[in-house]
Symmetry: C2
Subunit: 256 residues, 2 copies
DNA sequence: CCACAGCATTCCACAATGCGGAACAGGTCC
DNA sequence: GGACCTGTTCCGCATTGTGGAATGCTGTGG
């Protein structure tokens, strides 16, 4: 069976870029290809629009074309719509609001939220960004982020949002390690007084963490006394199910 | 500037497939490449997972890898999260529920819905599918669909959901033509008694219609007497804005 | 039933194409 | 200035992909 080498290599490069923006040398190293070859491939990919060159001189990332292509392939196949049913299920289980977030620089961008039906409930953060170090989703995302972005994050300053915010570099670093070990993160009134949250990672088929599921509620009832472990387990399980669907079948938006 | 020919060609093939599944000969014709070359390229793309071969012997479509790549590239960059703010805006303008749907075979799959705050409101269809010929989104999507799927749709049987459902082949066909001319579709109590809706197309940068924005409400107040034209205009405008963002900048989920 | 069309896949001689080491061109740091 | 990063360009070589023609497959219809 004959296979086209250059195309295979081009996709190696793309998959490499899926793990975050990178420069030519870095890609060359990771893919074990000569720099000149990578440069040439990147050149064509840029021209095609499959890859974009960040103006900050030098780093490449996936481009419009990739998004466009996959949007056409299956418009319904994406994080938000995949995760929605699982968020709803989670809300039913624990009777508190649940949400979905992704990393945006050193912040978390909230993609979606499903509310329970309490009189007192958390406002909808959909479409807004919050410093990663004060929310559970942020900590989870950073804990599993590639080493370079994690390192960059850890070097940055940490603003205190409440008296409980952890702003000490070493403590934050230590916390990330623990989160990675545990598989989920708790935050108690660190972003806002009276607000607690748990979060767990969503991992894509390539093994990268690309988002987080979280649950949150007012601290006087969330988690219910003694139920922290079970709530955490529910969140982890929901995130797990989302990851599974990201990997697998069951696509709603495909043809026929 | 040197560019890698085989990679360029591979992406020609992919872009071609973005317009719907096709066989080798068809792709060869559309891309003006020799069949043998297309076959070879498809071979490698399949092996990589960028393309999948439908078991119905022979037709190819975009595969997991493409979705995976773009999901990693920008998890927040997708129809639902792009459209959400515009749906919200639309709901504020017209004070009725609005939603988002894509084609799934001969049905419409509802991806999202935003409700107004009336006592009487339409139930949330998110996650469900409805026959395309009885809802405005469905008619819009079919009106702008590629000729083959449109033809296939028009040949199929049309079930009557209410007394108002249009089930005559010729009438449906004629209706699609009018919709394409007008740029939007109205449906009056054809899916459910007492329920009206308007829809307009979302088009991707390649010019293909990949989804529809709709608004709907109980027929006793929707549209407000004499306001059908202005409601339609709002919906069209909302769909237009979503299309613009699909094409352009302003991505929330990207790094830094 | 065989001929024929339309499809996809395989073959293979040919050379165009992409390859990759080395040389080059900017930067930044010490 | 020189050492050491980047990324891009050059250019001879041969690997690699090319594409017309041949092959195999399935369904149609005379």
């Amino acid at each position: 069976m004959s296979t086209v080498q250059s195309v295979e290599r081009a996709f190696s490069v793309l998959q490499c870029l899926a793990g975050g923006p990178a420069g030519v040398s870095e890609i060359a190293e990771r893919t074990a290809l000569p720099k000149s070859t990578v440069s040439r491939l990147l050149g064509t990919l840029v021209e095609l629009g499959a890859v974009e060159q960040s103006e900050a001189l030098g780093v490449y990332g996936l481009g419009e074309l990739m998004i466009e292509l996959s949007a056409s392939a299956s418009p319904g196949r994406n994080l938000v719509s995949l995760a929605r049913p699982h968020l709803v299920e989670l809300v039913e289980q624990i009777d508190e609001a649940a949400g979905l977030g992704v990393l945006d620089g050193h912040k978390v961008y909230y993609l979606d939220q499903v509310d329970g039906d309490h009189e007192v409930q958390v406002r909808d953060w959909t479409g807004e960004s919050v410093d990663a170090h004060v929310v559970s989703s942020g900590l989870v995302l950073m804990a599993y982020a590639p080493n370079d972005v994690r390192a960059d994050f850890l070097s940055g300053p940490f603003e205190a949002w409440t008296d409980n915010s952890v702003t000490d570099r070493a403590l934050v670093a230590h916390r990330l390690d623990e989160i990675k070990r545990a598989g989920f993160a708790w935050v108690y009134e660190e972003m806002s007084e009276g607000l607690n949250s748990v979060a767990a990672p969503i991992v894509n088929p390539a093994g990268m963490v690309i988002g987080a599921v979280h649950a949150h509620g007012p601290s006087y009832r969330f988690p219910a006394p003694g139920a922290a472990a079970s709530v955490a387990a529910s969140v982890v399980e929901a995130a797990q199910r989302v990851s599974d669907r990201l990997a697998g079948r069951h696509r709603p938006g495909s043809s026929s």
